[in-house]
């Protein structure tokens, strides 16, 4: 559904309906779109190849200095591509809420 905060007095709408804050879609929690499962990475099996990071349509893996990748539940929509593509099967799709 359309974001409620699209409502604003007409004088406050930026010129021509332009969006002035680049990349402010980050404020939107697409993680709410997960309904059934989420990916969980087994650090033992992970070889830091970055497939989960480069194949994620929602950029829901944040590279860490030590080479591992942190899963970001705020954005992950639970599609399961990362689990499918992980060469070491280190990522399992686990039921939400557990």
């Amino acid at each position: 559904m359309a974001k409620v905060d699209a409502m604003m007095p007409w004088k406050e709408v930026p010129l021509g309906g332009t969006i002035l804050e680049p990349g402010n879609a980050r404020k939107f929690k697409t993680g709410d779109w997960r309904s059934k499962v989420r990916p969980v990475t087994d650090k033992e099996k992970c070889i830091k190849c970055g497939m989960c990071w480069i194949f994620c349509p929602d950029m829901a893996y944040d590279p860490r200095e030590d080479g591992y990748y942190d899963w970001n539940g705020t954005y992950c929509k639970g599609c399961g591509i990362c689990a499918k593509e992980c060469p070491k099967d280190a990522i399992q799709m686990v039921a939400e809420g557990e």
Partner: protein
């Protein structure tokens, strides 16, 4: 000559991929969208400074629900059929403002993004004009093989036999009755310096081609396979699976055309096309003779590509002896 444009081009390796994300999280694409993944990889490879131009379509809608935008770079969308023309205006405007000293000289990459409908159908005229005029920009066609934003209607890029809401599998006609329009060949016919096809499963190949396209002075065209779970009726986790299979079956061969010279990624032991069609319910009604028709034509088209390479790029053609299917 693109050789000097690319003289300091260094290929990406898995460990040297840029961290920057010109396109950020929070966009409203469906779960497991292959097109937004392709877009992300292209934007990441090209990097900043960049000005992005979108045609109307899924990527434009999911990335700009006012007041939020997934674009961290300057972005403009005007209409469905004019991404190439708007990009031409942006590029011309930047060039003249630099010439007149009104803005500092900077290598700003102008990149147009459109779907297959926006490119092969309604936007073809503006695209042809911009290419012929030689504007310095990259045009990226994210091909999800139908009009997905309006609810999966057929386009000229919908593959033969696929069902869509306007090419349904009926008793008389079994889905799309026409063969996929060959956009890369049409773009090559404009004698532009760079044309390439890519698939997000082969992300290094894709990102290297995107980088090369952005470095080349003049127009460049990227045609990128973009899977769509909603429109193709496949699992949300299969974007990369189908993006790899389509290449392994030679249905979507990967190649570059640099100043008319073809360089084809060889795959002389392709998987049967049926293995690809099995993964998506849009092909569920495929009959054996349709499969055979497709297999024959896929094989023939692949041979033609090799012949084009032989004619236009003999050095490369000889160098590579035919080998088995090469994984990335």
């Amino acid at each position: 000559m693109i050789a000097d444009d690319l003289k300091d081009f260094k290929k990406f390796t898995p460990k040297t991929l840029p961290r920057e994300e010109p396109f950020v999280s929070g966009h409203r694409a469906c779960q497991g969208c292959g097109e937004v993944l392709a877009l992300r990889q292209v934007a990441k490879a090209i990097g900043t400074p960049m000005i992005a131009v979108s045609a109307t379509g899924c990527m434009e809608i999911i990335s700009s629900p006012f007041p939020q935008t997934a674009w961290a770079v300057p972005w403009i969308h005007v209409a469905f059929e004019n991404a190439a023309a708007v990009a031409a205006g942006v590029e011309s405007g930047l060039k003249i403002l630099v010439d007149k000293g009104r803005i500092p000289k900077k290598e700003i990459k102008v990149v147009a993004f459109a779907g297959d409908g926006g490119t092969a159908d309604i936007g073809l005229q503006a695209l042809s004009g911009a290419m012929e005029r030689g504007h310095n920009f990259v045009y990226v066609c994210l091909d999800n093989e139908a009009y997905m934003n309006t609810g999966i209607q057929r386009s000229s890029s919908t593959p033969y036999g696929a069902t869509t809401t306007t090419s349904p599998a009926g008793k008389v006609t079994p889905g799309q009755t026409t063969w996929k329009k060959n956009l890369p060949a049409i773009m090559a016919a404009h004698n532009i310096p760079y044309v390439a096809t890519a698939s997000p499963a082969y992300y290094l190949d894709l990102m290297n081609k995107a980088k090369k396209a952005s470095l080349i002075k003049g127009p460049a065209y990227l045609h990128i396979y973009s899977s769509c779970p909603t429109g193709w009726r496949h699992g949300a986790d299969l974007a990369i699976t189908v993006s790899r299979l389509v290449v392994e079956a030679n249905i979507f061969p990967l190649y570059e055309i640099e100043e008319g010279r073809y360089t084809v990624r060889k795959n002389n032991q392709p998987k049967p096309v049926e293995e690809y069609f099995k993964t998506q319910r849009r092909f569920a009604h495929m009959t054996p003779d349709m499969l055979q028709t497709i297999q024959d034509r896929v094989d023939r088209d692949y041979q033609r590509l090799l012949q084009m390479e032989g004619m236009t790029n003999p050095a490369v053609a000889q160098k590579e002896k035919p080998k088995g299917a090469t994984a990335e």
